[in-house]
Symmetry: C2
DNA sequence: CTGAAAGCGCTTACAG
DNA sequence: CTGAAAGCGCTTACAG
């Protein structure tokens, strides 16, 4: 039964070469004579030999693995980024170790120590709620242990010490708000999360800028991402000012769709009475009736680029680029007039 | 800057004990006198020492990591299972190495070799498309390398050599079909994927059983998970027999919602004209108008239980249970009459 | 309860 | 281009 795994020693024996030569044909093939190399490769193939990742990691001080730290796998944006990361990591034969962040700061800091102990070659960190404390902790880890860190879709606008791949959420928020203004909307509401997310703050600041420029009154409405909860909030909102609202920017597609459902239940027409924009371009947007107009965020691409940048930092100790801003686009469907 | 990580040697020095004692206070604290232990623990704390995972893995032949093999991170059921796995893994301080499966059989087999080389203590495999070839390969890996494997939400009904955690999809398909029959529906369609998924085949067989028992005519309609594609299919379907369909079982919520949107566009009423059931109870179900009735699958729980079972097999070499069937429930919302 | 020592399976200067 | 040997940082019998 339990076949004992072939070791480098077995390969060396069978191929009549030293351990060093086997190691070289795997890691620096150009340093081995073609003839020898082929002989060794053949034995490796025959034995189904794969180097033990621990021994290799211990000896070389490289792990060919990166730590992927995420707040919550179940959010589709996170899952899609991880997918992008996986696509790119595969090219380099890197493995991905997933760490699901806990709310508690202390736990996160423990987790980071684990990451360091795991000898990850680099860290991919995604957390759209990132706060001062967390940002500084990452900074410290990076400096203390000299491990490259790349933030993916994670913006901390007050400092820029950490390499980042994202989109300009402020500009995106500004852009769609302007579109609504140009449509002639006067009472444009921003539907955002009660909980503070950095990324949502940026969308909000873009919204506010456009609203102020147009001399309109800003309306920030904070609600929950939980549909059963925000439905109640939207009913209350409608009760208070429902007839006046004529435009909406929601920080997530799912919140936009939930809002649409609530308003249609009250007899309002979308987009005739209210134009609605979402953010992300998830499947929710295409399954909504009417289909949702929204900002399309190249989320998989963010993952791909973040991994590529991390790889660059791992290999060179640094990277030319410290900030990659990816373009977004505005998808016009049926919940807005344009 | 770059703080050199403390090693077990540094700890031993500072605490005036041997390496073995440091190792023991971490791994077998009961074998160390309390006094000594406390002294060592203090130094560990002071130095921020974390054992190097590679050295530990190499020496102990245990990795405290498991390989998580998934077909595609972006499917919400997969992401939620991984979340469940992460929750449970955290209890044991296990890390998770993610492998995103490729379509190509050869690549999957290479990946499995990598998994073995990575010294993972066990493998969590989820793939609702699993075929004979893949199943046998897993079997071989398990036998050859003596590594525990647990299938999560992955059914291969023709054999049961591999430990599995899932729900009874056949029964679920049967149950909701019966409900539609009891509602008085006569032309019940099953909307399933063109591509063969094991799990969908089981839903289908349950559907067929109920239909046959009732002496009705079965209608299996194969389409795509892609909304823009299935919308076209549904339009064609409506053109052919649209007026007759009075009940629908879809293998995924998103397919059900897309179908509802298509039918409403043609002027049909849900659930008055057509009752619709989905599968999974995703957010799509709550964001649909009308809200979707569906089978609720305890997907996070499947992840949790699969990880727990794997841990049991890792620790004991085997587990008492070879198959855990979790209960599902039927959620009645507004797309069916009950 | 504690320590000395071998060994896990690799990589990498160093020598030749 | 190739090999002998040290060393990576742990764990684990074995002795005491």
């Amino acid at each position: 039964m339990a076949k004992t795994k072939a070791t480098i020693y077995n390969v060396a024996m069978r191929a009549n070469v030293s351990l060093a030569t086997v190691s070289r044909t795997l890691n620096n093939p150009e340093k081995v004579k073609k003839e020898t190399r082929d002989k060794v490769l053949k034995v490796i193939e025959d034995l189904g030999y794969k180097p033990n990742a621990f021994a290799r990691g211990l000896a070389s001080r490289k792990s060919t693995s990166v730590a992927v730290m995420v707040p919550d796998m179940t959010r589709s944006s996170i899952a899609e980024m991880v997918n992008g990361i996986a696509i790119e990591a595969r090219k380099y034969n890197y493995s991905l170790i997933i760490y699901v962040l806990k709310d508690e700061y202390h736990e996160e800091s423990e987790m980071l120590k684990e990451v360091v102990a795991s000898q990850a070659d680099g860290i991919l960190y995604m957390n759209d709620e990132i706060n001062e404390q967390q940002y500084q902790m990452l900074n410290r880890i990076k400096d203390d242990y000299d491990v490259p860190i790349v933030l993916a879709n994670t913006l901390y606008p007050f400092e820029n010490k950490l390499t980042t791949v994202s989109i300009d959420y402020h500009k995106a928020g500004y852009g769609i708000t302007k579109e609504l203004i140009e449509e002639g909307r006067k009472n444009i509401y921003m539907l955002t999360t009660a909980r503070k997310y950095m990324v949502n703050d940026l969308k909000e600041s873009g919204y506010l800028k456009a609203i102020n420029e147009a001399g309109l009154e800003p309306h920030i409405f904070r609600t929950s991402g939980d549909i059963s909860v925000n439905t109640i909030h939207f009913d209350e909102l409608f009760h208070d000012v429902g007839k006046k609202i004529d435009g909406v920017i929601a920080v997530r597609d799912s919140i936009a769709v939930s809002f649409i459902n609530s308003m249609i239940a009250k007899g309002r027409k979308i987009p005739k009475d209210i134009s609605v924009f979402g953010f992300q371009n998830t499947k929710y947007a295409s399954l909504s009736r009417p289909k949702l107009s929204c900002i399309d965020i190249p989320i998989t691409e963010i993952g791909v680029r973040a991994m590529a940048l991390l790889k660059e930092e791992i290999d060179n100790g640094t990277s030319k680029t410290k900030y990659i801003e990816l373009p977004y686009s505005i998808i016009h469907r049926d919940s807005t007039k344009k």
